[in-house]
Symmetry: C2
């Protein structure tokens, strides 16, 4: 059966971005090295259209598994970017240039309606204004039996965790203390979320922790 | 060289205790299962004077390593217990009965002076009112060349992390989301704390993550 899966890099102290995120500094202050384990992987370079040299090995295997069999992606407005509020006249088209690394349908949760954006390489951004359940329903239909990926960020992940809609979560835990910023696990007081460990993989600079979320 | 080491069990969302800690519920609400990996270990039972049957294997090995070569222990007043404020006339003697599991000198950080407490089995509780550096100095002297253990809790750990005084930290990461309570990594905004991974061990119900703290 197709799954709704979430992959995210998190520091040991629970942050997925630093403080004061902005257009110039989308990951926030001090978070430059959070994704160091990722950028040089062969698989990462491939989906970003970069030169396909790069590291192979355990981290690359984990990365490829995370992106395999994904038929659609969901993300929040903050991850899509462009600042809060109404879309401007010449609106933001994402952080990723003309050929984003998703190569399939992406559903962006926002309070502000906007027409679908068709990019190169198969990526489409569809803007969903009627909530997380609607986004998941649309993503499942678009995925055609493949898995749906939750792209992030923290706020949207919290909403899906609280609603009990995620099937699987893989935390790429990096040995950093950010000491401030956006926490992945926040605003979840009162929710009973149960995890079942699937596997732990230790690799260079990161520990991959995969969990099934029990309904 | 002797080290100042910290071992602590933490949930995936960063908590070491639940909300509303009290004398009746020292670990706070919802935290009953945080230490499940620990209680049935042969090594844990031995230091608590329980029947020495119990589980051997990876978790027991990690537990024994954590307690090996410890010459003295430091803990905060909250971990020692008895509620905040002045000591009462018939003062609290710890959570652990007449024969606590430390079997050596323990230094309790408190704002309220009190005479040393001598327990059975080699445990002494010395109450330190002049700060974390003094407690560490006294513990090092008492340890006679062995390592010093930081017992907890979160608040004292944060003070030692912020002061750059810890040498090593092992997080026993359990697959639970507590969604509230006492976070291990909190109140550390503005501190530059660098970690170097030593090892990761996956075991039944827990992932053991050991880090060196770089000065």
């Amino acid at each position: 059966m197709s799954k709704f899966r979430f992959n995210i890099t998190m520091t040991l102290d629970g942050y997925v971005a630093g403080p004061n995120q902005s257009i110039d500094n989308p990951l926030g202050e001090g978070a430059d090295h959070i994704h160091d384990w990722l950028f040089n992987l062969k698989g990462f370079r491939e989906i970003h259209g970069d030169k396909p040299d790069g590291e192979t090995g355990t981290n690359d295997d984990v990365f490829r598994e995370a992106f395999a069999n994904i038929g659609a992606t969901i993300m929040g407005r903050n991850m899509f970017g462009g600042g809060p509020g109404q879309w401007r006249e010449d609106p933001w088209r994402g952080w990723w240039g003309d050929n984003p690394p998703f190569h399939g349908p992406v559903f962006v949760l926002t309070h502000h309606a906007r027409e679908q954006l068709v990019m190169q390489g198969g990526t489409t951004f569809t803007f969903v204004t009627d909530g997380i359940e609607s986004a998941l329903k649309q993503a499942r239909q678009a995925a055609g039996g493949k898995d749906v990926a939750l792209g992030g960020g923290a706020n949207v992940a919290q909403q899906y965790l609280a609603a009990g809609l995620l099937d699987e979560m893989e935390i790429h835990l990096v040995p950093l203390l950010l000491c401030g910023g956006a926490r992945l696990f926040d605003s979840l007081e009162g929710f009973d979320i149960r995890l079942e460990p699937v596997r732990t993989i230790e690799a260079a600079g990161v520990t991959h922790l995969k969990y099934r979320i029990i309904r």
